[in-house]
């Protein structure tokens, strides 16, 4: 029986995976992908079936564990934001070489316009790079439907399948017709040993086999019911994933339209579109991934436009307005922007422990004009904004410690790293080991709020283990401090920071106090019970 449910794109993916007989989801939280795993964690069917769903330490551990579940014959899902693909890339690309047994689907949620990210990288490049099939849903219904197809496809071609999302679809709700849950796979570990042991001899054979699969993958995309060519006259439009909606919203009558949701790019369909049209406009959210391929396919004489020639903006998210402009449609009459208007940037919550950390840090480094503070990814990145203006860098997960170390190697002093608890276990532990082995003169502030706060308070992998981890990595006991970041402790905290800046080796200070948001949530839950 089919019922309609109001679901976010992320939730439609999650339910699609559960109904496809999922046995485990592996993920590290990251906007806009977090809700997929959260949905599965809270779903009664998932609980009843014992679907594995705890948060992982990072995207690489997630990808590898999912590959292990696939090896054992069961269906596994990996979810991450786009930059997580960089973290799991080693496992991801090589999973294309080993291939899979149970269906393995990787969701990469891209963030065009960088609503909460540090770049606009387009995960479709990773799909092409790994030579695997990839899918790009256009709406919430297709999120649900494509997930089942992705698992089926993965098992048929024995490869991981990448499913590319964008923020706008991940976080937009619509009614979705959902079906009944299908069975889970039985335990059946792969017996073919050689394809999993990627010694060069085996790897060469596997890689050749992967290349041999490409014509089949292309044929499947050419005949996919999600790649639809509608021939018209004049202008030919290629609309990828969510771009299809913007095109349909503003579409002038009579143009030819190729909707693309399954890759590799269906080249024959593109040629058919080109033959029926005078020129082609490529509309895609993210980078000009398809546009470049279409140009290569049709040659220099065929007019192709899109983000590369400025017909659509080179950066930022698509919307009905910039797509309408690309069709040359006149803009409607709009109100002028208001005069009495000021930006309202996000900020650290009142009472947040990170605030006390920055207050203390700013107080101390005011005494050190040469000090540099290397920040990291989390709520505490907001320490870059007024009133704190406390950090000098924020690049990627874990970079605070290693950048501080490199800067210290170059002679910067004091070199201070500020990193959160979840980011530390995600990618900071190896950085700290490097620093210890070099006896780098850095001061690490491991601001521990006992949660992964920025994405909404998910469990943090290292909670209650940080002292043990730091000691085990070789931080000296007398240069490891745990403090409680509260205004009343300011004198103690500033004294410790000052002393440790003066120490010419690795010190770690752990300000430890629970996130205000998770604390409030726990209290609400307690009251409700």
């Amino acid at each position: 029986m089919t019922v309609k449910k109001l679901l976010l794109g992320d939730e439609a993916l999650a339910l699609g995976a559960l109904h496809a007989g999922l046995s485990g989801v592996y993920a590290y939280p990251g906007t806009p992908s977090t809700e997929i795993t959260e949905f599965i964690q809270n779903d009664p069917l998932a609980r009843e079936r014992g679907v594995r769903s705890r948060w992982c330490t990072n995207e690489k551990t997630a990808m590898e564990a999912a590959l292990g579940m696939s090896y054992a014959g069961k269906r596994a899902l990996v979810c991450m934001k786009h930059v997580g693909m960089n973290v799991c890339a080693d496992a991801f690309v090589n999973a294309g070489v080993t291939g899979v047994k149970g269906g393995l689907v990787v969701v990469a949620a891209d963030d065009p316009s960088m609503h909460s990210s540090q770049n606009e990288q387009d995960s479709r490049f990773y799909g092409k790079f790994a030579l695997i099939p990839f899918l790009e849903p256009s709406d919430q219904q297709e999120c649900y439907d494509l997930m089942a197809e992705a698992f089926r496809l993965s098992e048929e071609v024995r490869l991981p399948v990448l499913l590319r999302m964008v923020t706008r679809l991940a976080h937009s709700r619509a009614a979705v017709a959902v079906g009944e849950p299908g069975p889970q796979n039985a335990l059946a570990p792969d017996e073919e040993r050689t394809r999993w042991v990627l010694l060069p001899g085996n790897a060469r054979r596997q890689y050749a086999a992967l290349i041999d699969k490409q014509p089949d993958l292309l044929a499947r995309a050419e005949h996919s019911s999600h790649n639809i060519l509608k021939e018209g006259k004049g202008l030919g439009v290629i609309a990828c994933g969510i771009a299809y909606n913007y095109v349909r919203e503003v579409l002038p009558e009579g143009v030819s339209l190729l909707k693309v949701s399954q890759y590799p790019l269906p080249a024959a369909q593109v040629r058919a579109l080109a033959a029926a049209s005078d020129e082609i406009l490529v509309v895609e959210d993210g980078q000009p991934f398809v546009e470049e391929q279409v140009k290569a396919l049709l040659g220099v004489d065929y007019p192709v436009s899109g983000r590369l020639n400025g017909r659509l903006p080179r950066t930022g998210e698509l919307n009905p307005d910039n797509v309408a402009a690309a069709f040359g449609l006149p803009a409607g009459k709009v109100h002028q922007p208001a005069v009495n208007l000021a930006p309202r940037p996000p900020q650290l919550c009142q009472g947040c422990g990170h605030r006390d950390v920055y207050t203390a840090l700013n107080q101390v480094i005011a005494e050190y004009p040469t000090a540099r503070v290397f920040g990291d990814i989390g709520c505490y990145t907001l320490g870059a904004l007024p009133p704190f203006r406390a950090i000098d860098s924020c690049v990627d997960m874990g970079a605070s410690i290693t950048m501080a170390k490199g800067a210290a190697d170059a002679g910067v002093h004091p070199a201070i790293a500020v990193i959160g608890d979840s980011t530390f276990t995600h990618s900071g532990m190896t950085s700290l080991l490097d620093a210890v082995n070099d006896n780098a003169a850095i001061t690490v502030i491991l601001s521990d709020n006992l949660t992964t706060a920025m994405t909404g308070g998910q469990d943090s992998a290292g909670t209650h283990k940080f002292e043990a981890i730091c000691l085990a990595l070789g931080v000296e006991r007398e240069h490891l401090h745990v403090v409680v970041p509260l205004p009343k402790n300011m004198e103690e905290i500033t004294r410790i920071i000052r002393e440790e800046i003066e120490y010419k080796g690795v010190s770690v200070i752990i300000p430890q106090r629970e996130c205000m948001q998770t604390l409030a949530r726990k209290n609400r839950q307690k009251r409700a019970q």
Binding site: H171, R173, A175, N245, N340, A342, R344, P346
Partner: protein, 191 residues
Amino acid sequence: MKTDIKLAGVGGQGILSIATVLGEAATAAGLHLKQAEVHGMSQRGGDVQSDLRLSTDPIFSDQIPLGGADLILSMEPMEALRYLPYLGPEGAVVTSSKPFVNIPNYPDEVALLAELDALPKVTRMDIDAVAKGLMAPRSANMVLLGMAARHIGILAPEDLRQAIRTVFARKGDKVVEDNLKAFDAGYEGIQ
């Protein structure tokens, strides 16, 4: 028939609860619906917005085009102004009149309200004061929804009341009652 609504406010003010109620009402009425939300870091005391599109016909874009909104529904007066370019020529603004000041350069309140009042169709009320007066301070967002009900032609007020009952049911009768009271105060308050 369609109604495009730009929901606005400051992170934590409860605009997503308004969206949930409207979504529930629209689904129960068999309407097509798309609702694009803001999640993640942008919720931390920063400006937040949600595009809510209701229609008797299928909806394509998750985002409302510039000049396309039939209604700006805002929990905060400056946040209502932020989305003016999205307001259609015949569109209405329904907003709380009480500034939420968490930035040092918040505009002059008198000038801000004057700019709001100069718009062709605007309804504003101190929804926090109304909710407090009803002893339901957490239901200010439902006061706002009540004020907006007359502008949401695609749904009847009773559809919205029923949706409030459904959405808040799991929080207990008292919460349902508070929210219905708040909705009615907003609805009656602007007659």
